[in-house]
Symmetry: C2
Subunit: 415 residues, 2 copies
């Protein structure tokens, strides 16, 4: 048998740095225009706020009592005598009577202070004389504004929340309190995920010898769902130009971003770039100076950003976090730096790093106010189980020196 050895066409490509790749990737942002849409508050969890949200009311809407007690006027000369209770003020049912010298109004938590009153004496500080009559136990201690929540202390009408945030439950509560039932958000980006490989079979299928179950698309689509995107898992494409082109062609017609996994390394059987180029791919970069994920590439195909991730599950999942997520954050208009890099103390010695920026699977724990990170022993990019057991990546710069226990390292938390 004669064999075409087809040594890598891409072998001598310049490896660009992760930061440079990210910058080039962000340039693809301009190809995607997501519309805004108005949705109900209840459906807005995890979406990105587009418009300013303005409070429609003051909160509280008036001076209100923070306790159950009696509304009085602290300047009333008759406070050390018997006070006649002239009315009741409850939340939503304010008193009609006002507080005049020698009188008080029974008041409950959240109720509006009646006219003429400026303070609330808690009921434990009051003695009941007879029906509708009280005396204050320590009238000399009374001062203005006791147990009063002043109008607008939480927020005043017109207070705004700025757009560009991912909406959390606490924010939904705030927007409700501000009076809004609907919010303007960005539409969910539709992201097509194409897995490529003759060795792949769908989970749930009977597997044949040497096949492995396709897992990258499921991991990435779940990650995307968690970020309120709309992932579409394409049927597995096979290792031939026709199959890959068919998928890319279809995806390019109806996606905000296309993601491929597999087929992004060197060698004659790595066809995805060739297929995409035949359809008109403009490459932004190919091969990044990182581990895992060196073969990652990106470009645009018919004005749709395309990110080519490696086929190894761990590489594809890690690179989805390193490349796809930051691009999505830009596209949905979320104003956070992504990936978020923080730091932690090492729990183990690490050897000097090689020439590639290394993203080491690791586990971070909180211990007495300190964040402690332990790298995993096994770092091979085929180990899905190790990834599942990790919750962060230690970021090691190219040619990083040896690291010792207690040294501070950069980390990226894994979603």
């Amino acid at each position: 048998m004669e064999v075409d050895l087809g040594h890598s066409s891409g072998k001598n490509h310049h490896l660009i740095s992760y930061n440079n790749a990210l910058e080039l990737l962000f340039g693809l942002h301009k190809f995607v225009t997501l519309n805004d849409e108005t949705i109900t508050l209840e459906n807005s969890l995890g979406r990105v706020l587009r418009g300013e949200v303005k409070a429609l009311i003051d909160n509280p809407p008036a001076d209100i009592s923070s306790m159950d007690g009696y509304a009085i006027n602290s300047f009333d000369d008759k406070l050390n005598g018997i006070l006649r209770v002239v009315d009741v003020s409850a939340a939503g049912t304010p008193a009609r009577a006002q507080v005049s010298p020698g009188s008080a109004v029974r008041i409950f938590t959240g109720a509006k202070l009646p006219q003429g009153s400026n303070s609330v004496i808690v009921q434990e500080e009051v003695t009941l004389i007879k029906k509708s009559e009280i005396s204050i136990n320590n009238p000399e201690k009374v001062s203005p504004n006791e147990n009063v929540r002043r109008k607008g202390t939480d927020f005043i009408e017109g207070t705004t929340v700025k757009p560009g945030k991912i909406i959390t439950p606490k924010e939904i509560m705030l927007f409700a309190a501000m009076g809004h039932e609907k919010l303007l958000v960005k539409q969910k980006p539709l992201i097509s995920i194409i897995s490529i490989g003759n060795e792949l079979t769908k989970p749930g299928n009977l597997h044949k010898k040497n096949q492995i179950y396709s897992s990258n698309a499921y991991g990435i689509s779940s990650l995307l769902r968690k970020l309120s995107c709309e992932p579409v898992i394409f049927p597995i494409a096979r290792d031939n130009l026709e199959s890959i082109k068919k998928s890319l062609d279809k995806a390019s017609q109806n996606s905000d971003i296309i993601v491929t996994t597999g087929g992004a390394s060197v060698g004659t059987y790595d066809l995805v770039k060739t297929a995409a180029k035949q359809l008109g791919l403009h490459l932004c970069f190919e091969k990044v100076n990182i581990r895992p994920g060196k073969p990652t590439f990106a470009g645009y195909l018919r004005n749709v950003p395309l990110i080519g991730l490696p086929g190894n599950p761990v590489s594809s999942y890690v690179c989805a976090q390193l490349f796809l997520l930051p691009l999505i954050m830009k596209i949905i208009g979320c104003k956070i730096d992504c990936p978020i890099i923080s730091s932690a103390k090492l729990n183990a010695k690490m050897n000097p790093n090689g020439s590639r920026q290394n993203f080491v699977r690791a586990n971070i724990v909180n211990d007495g106010g300190i964040r402690i990170v332990s790298p995993k022993d096994k770092q091979d990019s085929s180990l899905v189980k190790t990834l599942q057991e990790s919750n962060c990546l230690i970021v090691r710069p190219p040619n990083d020196n040896i690291k010792n226990i207690d040294d501070l390292v950069d980390i990226i938390e894994l979603i």
Copy 2:
């Protein structure tokens, strides 16, 4: 006007500790039986795994190459001569030929090692002689198992993942790799949320004077959605027994848990416990020695657990995290301690704490491997905006001493 002053019926109730309340609350777990259901992998994000997941295959399924190169036998005497390349092994398309003395097989990443081979020489270490002939640049350096991923290194057939975990994207990837398209999970608990108060109006409505927008139900329901529960927001109930009983009656017919907000304090206008008791509520506790949230109560109504949260938005949201969440975790079978308490270093002095366990709204940041927490200046339980700006609670025990900068304090991260 004659006024019924109705001083608190509940005034002298014993305040139980948070931990005791939690223990009593966990007793309600027995009233809820959620069925199991089988759902697709793609829909399983955030659900709780019920059955063990067993790997259906070894991963990798055979010894495979981790690089593009040539499969050889490291014990071959002819390695320092010219090797004839007799076949190609690609992922999913293994070689038919085997490696015999003086021969090699072109191999790509993820491909099965051919029979007779035990090592892979990367293509950069090989010189192409002519079509189908190569020489190894440094044959003396060749050793067994180079660039080989051994069968089953990631996991072997039968490797199990235990139930009782909330399913993450990384786990979905692992379950896919193990061959599963469907998973057994707990059904989502259906949780009815009833807001009570004459002062409340629905977000989106025009507000009348002294009204405030109902926000608790929206905050809590979003929290519940985030935890993959099924929240149902009931119409606002009014401050009268009939209105509250009508809602409770309806909720008790079709809920796994009922949550009320408002109407849980003392005073004649706090009617929810009375209404629930008239329908048959068995109380487990009422009034807890905490701030915020003292009026929180819990019990069961017609065998449905009921948690009564305070009406103040901040108290209700905080207490949803302190009481509702731990109960939900028990009910869905999630084996984590809840709430999760960790620690952080204080960034400000704190006064001695009073007699109630205090959950102080605060912000935690990571700074050079240290977790630093800053309490919010304003702690009034009506301040929704302060809550929105907080990301954790500092837990202060009853009668806690003064705390100084750099002291370690317990914290609960807010969802």
